[in-house]
Subunit: 415 residues, 2 copies
């Protein structure tokens, strides 16, 4: 088996993936080994001592939400004394945006890759602004999580089951013709999935007030689909792991402190480097000095050829993330095609005459060209409790790819 | 007042328009003078003897629906004996797609131009395929119209009133960033309006089965928004009529036999020419020889700078209507900018770095350049009762513009 063959196998598995949103269930039912006081977070492994402000904010907030502490101060005290156990989402078939908190009582969306039988999980998107994924943790944030747990999650689960699942590949294909890149712009796919689910929600939600609230909540959140897309990304990439001699990236993730990647041929080992600061646009009243470095498992979106890789499909996002003139959005996609193995014919970009999105990041090409993956990202305030302050573009640190290539070379015996 | 000043006034009124969807009410309440046996149709005036196949199909179908005939044969007999009165939608503040039937018991969507106080009306879109606007007229088609009259129309009216109206200008602006051009592609705006209305539908629809049916009907119809956009177009253009010395087109419409235009400076006079055949793509099993010539009031969409004029916003529609490579969609918009007075900064196209859509068709420029307005259109089968067979691009006949310019010159005393 040559490296080229191995990478062909990797991309073939990516393209054969058939992700479907099949359910919403409580995390404790979904995730083996998830128990009291275990907090899953975004990115590579991380201890309390190394956590950035918003990550600490989210940890203390989720601890209060779960009833493991009475208030944020107590939670912080408990965390610093080692009362909680921390682990990456990726180790438990999960992903989470930004801080990426996953704990036992949260409802998780279940995406099953029908071609391979594996499942991946992600919590439900909380909306924009002051939310836990950006480090928000006050009562308003926690009350929203309770409503998601008690009302929205169960209702979504009933509707998705009544719909007999929602195939995601074609829905994302459609979203690409409607200006979404599925990372910082999900307005089309959020609408498309709402219109699929709405009749089922109506048939399976008894309380008309709850139904109206649910329809308003989903309809009012342009990023609702982000978390679905992330679980989809994880479900597509997990079967690509552990292909001997493949140099294709299977995960990229950040914990607010470090950026980490995993590569198919080197298994579940993380190659990490200090995470970079996004360059972007800030909401009124905020600037670069408020920003936390890059964070979240949402880079799984770029790993499957969307987000920054699909910028050409989404000229409107270029303005939102401060990536230059909309007319130059195509250049981002063209550049990412230089570091990928193939393209995805089912995820085609109309403005590029239906060229498929760049698919299968090859660490060799990244190191050779010096072109790091382009990531469209949200920007969190660096202090706990504040929330989102902007959106921007960030590059994955080249050092991760260099380390990975060195380890890969050692493993196949050429270093 | 010079022609340039007059046209500036015309475009200023277009840009100041503030169209909002404010209600759905039965046509007999909405439209003054609408009574028994009066059938409003698309395009300029037309007698039964001159009607094309699908127009005749729709007339006989709507007559049975209204109870003016027991069956299609009887309706045809009655029509040929002059039992029905025919008039253009445009004469009654209405517009209708393709055949454009408007009669007393149909529910009409009401768009009010808040800046000028005028209202315009359009029936609710029936969905795709075998439908009355494409000449479908059998029991299935008529039963759908009954459900629209008895269930959907009243429910939509309640929801829109509960929402206190839906502002359309910003919604359309958003749709342009999501690949809609609002004539042959309305998938984004249909989703955006559904998500606005869904919570209100849930709060105001008592019967859960009806609610689920309504959500599924709207969610399953990518062209639901077309009829809203048409009423919006009429509401925007009506205040632009009768500006002395203005050469701006206030309406374009086709009845399947003739294409007609109206010009601000020449009032409500129609300038007509035989309608052309669309060039386009056909659904499987159909070809050009099945096609009816171009039809419908939907060209009001191009009159306000959308549809074929906004092709650059919608590379995906270029393929659907057979207009060439998606990457060349920008050229259509650039060309239409040559025959328009201005552009609309609130309806901006991301891929053109937020240039506004070409606004205010100037008959002088059309005649000087020989560039006829580009129209994205559906294609009906030429026989009554069949329905849609394709979609394509058609040019407005230059002869209408030449006639209009001649009449205009006579009126201002230069011919």
């Amino acid at each position: 088996m040559t490296i080229a063959n191995a990478n062909e196998t990797a991309v073939d598995r990516m393209l054969r993936g058939d992700p479907q949103l099949v359910d919403v269930i409580p995390a404790k039912e979904a995730v083996d080994g998830l128990g009291d006081r275990l907090i899953l977070h975004a990115g590579p492994p991380l201890d309390w001592a190394d956590m950035c402000g918003p990550m600490r904010g989210a940890v203390t907030g989720i601890a209060v939400f779960e009833g493991w502490a009475e208030n944020l101060e107590q939670a912080e005290e408990a965390a610093s004394k080692g009362f909680f156990e921390f682990a990456p989402n990726h180790d438990f078939d999960c992903v989470g945006p930004m801080t990426g908190m996953t704990t036992i009582s949260q409802p998780l969306m279940v995406v099953e890759n029908k071609a391979f039988g594996n499942r991946a999980y992600c919590a439900i998107n909380e909306g924009l602004g002051k939310v836990m994924r950006f480090g928000g943790n006050d009562e308003e944030v926690r009350d929203r999580l309770k409503w998601i747990r008690d009302v929205l999650g169960p209702a979504l689960g009933r509707a998705i089951r009544a719909a007999d699942g929602i195939p995601l590949k074609s829905l994302v294909g459609r979203g690409l013709t409607m200006g979404d890149e599925m990372h910082q712009r999900n307005v089309a796919c959020s609408g498309l999935i709402l219109r699929e689910l709405a009749p089922h929600l109506a048939r399976t939600t008894d309380n008309p007030g709850d139904l109206a609230d649910i329809l308003a909540f989903i309809g009012g959140n342009d990023q609702f689909f982000l978390n679905v897309a992330m679980a989809m990304g994880k479900a597509i990439m997990d079967p690509v792991r552990n292909i001997d001699k493949s140099t294709v990236v299977t995960a990229m993730a950040r914990n607010g402190t470090d950026f980490g990647i995993r590569v198919s041929g080197t298994g579940d080992r993380w190659f990490t480097a200090p995470v970079e600061m996004p360059e972007g646009l800030y909401f009124p009243g905020y600037s670069e000095k408020d920003a936390n470095p890059d964070m979240g498992d949402s880079t799984i979106i770029e790993t499957i050829g969307l987000g920054g890789f699909a910028m050409a499909a989404s000229p409107a996002v270029a303005g939102f993330v401060g990536a230059g003139p909309a007319s130059e959005a195509l250049n981002f996609t063209r550049t990412m095609a230089e570091i990928t193995v193939s393209e995805n014919p089912e995820w085609a970009i109309p403005a590029m005459d239906y060229q498929g999105v760049p698919t299968g990041i090859d660490i060799r090409r990244v190191v050779e060209t010096g072109l790091a993956p382009t990531i469209n990202t949200g920007i969190a305030h660096k202090e706990p409790g504040v929330g989102q302050v902007g959106a921007g573009v960030v590059r994955a640190p080249l050092k991760c790819f260099e380390q990975a290539l060195f380890a890969f070379a050692e493993k196949i015996g050429v270093a």
